[in-house]
Amino acid sequence: MNKILSHTISLAFVSVSFTLSASQELIEKGKYLADAADCYACHTTDDGQQYGGGKAFPLPMGMKIYSTNISSDKTFGIGNYTLEDFTAALREGKSANNGYLYPAMPYGSYALITDDDIKALFAYFQTVPAVKQKKTDNDVYFPANVRTGILGWNMLFLDDKRYLPDSEKSENWNRGNYLVNSFGHCGECHTPRNLFMALEKDKPFQGAVIGSTWAPNITAENLLKAGWGSDDLASLLRHGYSDKGVVTGEMYTVVKHSLSKLSEQDMRAVTGYLLNSDEYIASKTPVYDEKVITHEGYPTYMSYCASCHGDKGQGKPNFAPKMLGNGTLMEPNQYNVVYSIIGGIDSQYYNQVNSFDAMPSYQDKLSDQQLLDLMNYLSASFTFDKKEFTAPEIKALRESVLESLETEH
């Protein structure tokens, strides 16, 4: 009897796994796209289960909103969603559970996602482990608590259109464009916003203040000017680390949870789109000039920076980034350079073979003059355009860094 029973069970298994395998591909695809969309970053807390939501997003004036539970739990998550509910949430920010979502959810970007891809995402989210975790109430007050207000915002700024390929451009470029602007929602940080916090679509990727850091200008023009090549960009997005420097702040988690998982092919598409080229682009590095050792900033650089970043800015592989040709040094806005020096950089752990120790803060060590000299030294020795900064410029940057460090703590 037992034998027969077990036989039947195994048969049943076969049939189940057969139907599964048909959709397995779809689920796998959905998982890949969910990673590409970095759903994890916002919908998982540091100590919570995957997709359980509850992560806090500070708003001005001390208000906070919390991300929703997007696990497959039928009570607290989106296990009861239909494909239509799911689509509406993704494209219009309309949640079947929570009404209109705050635009912290990048539905403006996700609106570009194709129907097929949404189906895959939906299939995947139905399979993620259910998390029994109630949505934390948003800590907001009037007028921000009136969610229907968002509807008005949506009507003004939401462009609910699917991605349309540019027939002038290559397939690779189009794929890159689609990934960067829909799933990647890169513009949400790298494109400046207007007074109503809507993206300024005429200034795509020109850089914006995001939290306490500057989301740099990632226009192709600027990247190429700074000497970024295809390999550098791919390495940066995959490992958080490249010959042109490293990522810091929020971008660290984006790389860790999302970009590092892109396929080789998609990574090529993304870098091709960002550099606006179907050709392989080689990295460009300025020539180090021994004469810079007479620069006023040289002693400061040698005192505090050289042991990790190299006496000639050569860095140490897998340990500390190069300064020679560093992309951040060539970003038009030097906020991040000052931020790194004054605020330091937290340690980063990607995985067992890729992680970085913290960079210390030098706020207590550097006078305004030393910081100015150092900034000018970095520019003079390691960049193409060798910009010169003025004392007021650097002082202002330092103050604004200190201000944002203050709000962080």
Partner: protein
């Protein structure tokens, strides 16, 4: 080349010419033959190489010597492991510093390579607590925060932490 002058363990050192590529730990080892400060990782991670820098108010702060060059310490007053014990007029060590005594009693270390770093950090911590006492219930977390980045490969930290805890609780005025 810059000319260095500094005070190490209350001895005036210098003038000595030093290149900007020379790290403080290398200066201590190769220029002064003071090898009590230990090289562990060379990247500011293991904290074996920390020494104490004294500010104008006499407050001590630890600094890593493998990621800062010697010039950073030009004109400063610094203290290393060689300077903590009491010596007689012939330079012989006649008594230990309380932290040295405590680490010894607790058998906190085995190979001893991390001891210099742990000691300087603990000395700075105790001085800080003298100024700003903490609650007894905060002693453990305070120790964790102060010593947490130091790497020890032999004894699993337990006897360092116990030693620091006993010391903090036994010295009057560090806890309130």
């Amino acid at each position: 080349m810059t000319v260095m002058n500094l005070s190490i363990n209350n001895n005036i050192v210098g003038p000595i010419e030093v290149d900007p590529e020379i790290m403080m730990i290398e200066f201590l080892h190769e220029y002064l033959n003071l090898t009590g400060t230990k090289f562990g990782c060379g990247g500011g991670i293991c904290h074996a190489c920390v020494i104490l820098v004294e500010d104008e108010q006499g407050m001590l702060k630890t600094e890593r010597t493998c990621i800062h060059n010697a010039l950073v310490f030009n004109g400063k007053k610094v203290h290393t492991i060689e300077g903590h014990a009491t010596k007689d007029k012939y330079g012989e060590i006649i008594a230990l510093h309380p932290v040295q005594e405590s680490f010894s009693k607790h058998f906190s270390f085995q190979c001893g390579w991390c001891t210099s770093g742990f000691m300087n950090e603990t000395i700075a911590l105790i001085q800080r607590l003298k100024k700003d006492p903490i609650k007894k219930t905060d002693v453990e977390t305070t120790i964790e925060a102060a010593l947490g980045e130091h790497i020890c490969r032999c004894t699993g930290y337990v006897k360092y932490y116990q030693s620091a805890k006993d010391l903090i609780l036994s010295i009057k005025g560090l806890t309130k």
